[in-house]
């Protein structure tokens, strides 16, 4: 398991570095059109060939990975922060616990994808691709936090019941100081675990939405919208390199799942 984890970290590092600076690996940008070379097969110039608009598939793959790898962790960070705050509040202020858990139940009652569809349907018609992708991931962060609240509330409760907290309370330590200096540092392992759970979930949600044409819009690439080429079965048989985005997504989410630490 340890070897697999090291491999996962190495793989994620390589993918992250190559997608942070794709210019090093490919001279083309994601929207550069080589109009004389559409649907080109892989070769020394275009490692994964070109699409029907003559855009370099390898460049689009690197830029697409960047979209997913930059924005999914940002959304996961937002969701983790909201879940941690809600969990700490629920455990610390008993009067708020029931209404907070009720709100969590309400949010969980509707699958995330349906809520995303409702808001996605209402984006302004003239939204640019970059703003649209930012809104999509912000929504993932703002709507996806609910599943982590009970975990944080339980972890905070465990800290609140511990001997050192009782001693601190007896010594006159104010609750705000207790939360800031004791509970939050104690919650860091839980936060990391929850963050690691959120990231692959959000990458997959984006992939699902983009494959349906409701996620990241053209010309901006993402792993999801690059995979929509796979829906043409006969093309995949003739051009197996179209599977590259699916393989990369598979590698990224698999590695992220391997990194999730066990929290009791």
């Amino acid at each position: 398991m340890r070897i697999l984890r090291r491999f996962a970290i190495g793989f994620l590092l390589v993918v992250s570095l190559s997608s942070v600076a794709p210019q090093i690996f490919t001279p083309s940008s994601y929207d550069t059109q080589h109009r004389r070379q559409p649907n080109e097969a892989p070769g020394p110039t275009f490692l994964l060939g070109t699409d029907d608009l003559g855009r370099d598939r390898f460049a689009r793959l690197l830029y697409g990975a960047r979209t997913s790898l930059l924005l999914a962790p940002a959304a996961a960070l937002l969701a983790t922060a909201i879940a941690a705050i809600a969990g700490v509040v629920a455990a610390s202020i008993t009067e708020l616990q029931r209404p907070l858990f009720y709100a969590v139940d309400v949010i969980i009652s509707t699958p995330l994808l349906f809520l995303l569809l409702v808001v996605r349907a209402l984006l302004p018609l003239d939204t640019s691709a970059i703003i649209s992708v930012s809104i999509l991931f912000a929504l993932l962060g703002l709507l996806g936090w609910a599943s982590g609240v009970r975990l944080f509330a339980a972890a905070t409760q465990r800290l609140a019941d511990s001997d050192f907290t009782i001693q601190a309370q007896a010594s006159g330590c104010p609750p705000s100081r207790l939360i800031l200096m004791q509970f939050l540092p104690g919650l860091i392992p839980t936060m990391f675990a929850q963050f690691c759970v959120f990231v692959p979930g959000f990458v997959m949600a984006e992939a699902n939405l983009s494959m349906l044409g409701l996620g990241v819009s053209e010309p901006l690439p993402s792993l999801g919208n690059l995979m929509s080429d796979l829906l043409n079965y006969s093309a995949v048989l003739e051009q197996p390199w179209l599977l590259a985005p699916a393989i990369l997504l598979f590698g990224i989410t698999g590695s992220l799942h391997l990194l999730v630490p066990k929290v009791d």
Binding site: F114, L115, L123, M211, F250
Partner: protein, 294 residues
């Protein structure tokens, strides 16, 4: 017999109460999301080049007037109580008609997919616990792990290629999410000191599993069963769209493309109701089981 009937009526009453408490809040949350969405005042007619700036402005103002989430919520609930869920601008039909036409396909796929996925996860996790060995554990964990890394939409595509149904793709989605949790559940139960002591004293593996591993884990297994419905519903949109299955997921997708809010609210209502019924039933079944155990 009378006590049994009384308990059953009480349980149904509790489920109805919980669903009744949860649904209005889900609708209100959806109304809030709709009203605060940045493009709420946008209308497809606004990109019509034939319209003047004044006409576009008046269209925008007309939509902006309805931006109060409370008013939108009251209007929708008022209509829903009278059986009127609005009119679909995309399909030119009443929303109620569309929903009643489409829900059987989704409910059937979700029912079959969630149950099959859950049952396979329970069965495989039981086999892994009953017959310890690297081969079975490694292969089943790898299959679940591999499926976990494939987006539902791609699984739907694979279902088409393999000439399989939406329900089978849904069961793969459910299985991948539940198997590892089920395995952890059984592993934790197996690692209990009394279970290890019983094993050391020569209790057979089968008896150990029946009385000390699966038995005490039943409430959690039921909870996972309820979450399988939620997982299957979440996968309904991509799977139904890719597999061209005429269900609620496909309807929601078409409504999103057509910015058809009344249909989206109607679909959300049904999905939330189904999810809430499953969650409330599980909670109550869980409580009854725990009471019986104690």
């Amino acid at each position: 017999m009378l006590i049994l009937a009384h308990n059953a009526i009480k349980a149904i009453g509790r489920i109805a109460f919980r669903v009744g408490m949860r649904l209005p809040m889900v609708l209100f949350l959806t109304s809030v999301l709709v009203c605060i969405a940045p493009g709420f005042d946008s209308d497809e007619r606004q990109i019509d080049a034939r319209l003047s700036t004044e006409s576009i402005q008046s269209l925008r103002q007309l939509r902006a007037q309805n931006r109060n989430p409370l008013t939108a919520f009251i209007q929708f609930v008022g209509g829903a109580v009278q059986g009127d869920l609005g009119y679909s601008s995309t399909f030119n039909r009443p929303v109620w008609e569309l929903l009643s036409e489409r829900y059987p396909a989704t409910f059937r796929a979700v029912g079959v997919g969630a149950f099959t996925g859950w049952a396979v996860a329970v069965l495989l996790a039981s086999c892994v616990t009953l017959f310890p060995g690297f081969a079975l554990r490694g292969s089943s964990t790898s299959i679940a792990g591999l499926l976990l890394c494939v987006p539902s939409a791609l699984l739907g595509f694979m279902a088409i290629v393999l000439q399989s149904s939406v329900a089978s793709a849904m069961s793969c989605v459910v299985f991948s999410r539940l198997f590892l949790q089920m395995n952890t559940l059984f592993d934790k139960a197996s690692a209990q000191p009394h279970v290890m002591a019983a094993e050391a004293m020569g209790l057979t593996r089968r008896a150990l599993f029946r009385w000390h591993i699966a038995g005490p884990s039943t409430p959690q297994m039921i909870v996972l069963g309820a979450s399988s419905i939620s997982i299957a519903l979440g996968a309904a949109v991509p799977l139904e769209v890719i597999c061209d299955s005429p269900g609620l997921g496909q309807l929601a997708w078409k409504a999103t493309l057509g910015r058809d809010l009344s249909v989206l609210l109607g679909v959300t209502l049904i999905i939330a109701a189904l999810n809430s019924v499953a969650a409330a039933t599980t909670d109550i079944a869980n409580k009854v089981l725990r009471e019986q155990a104690s």
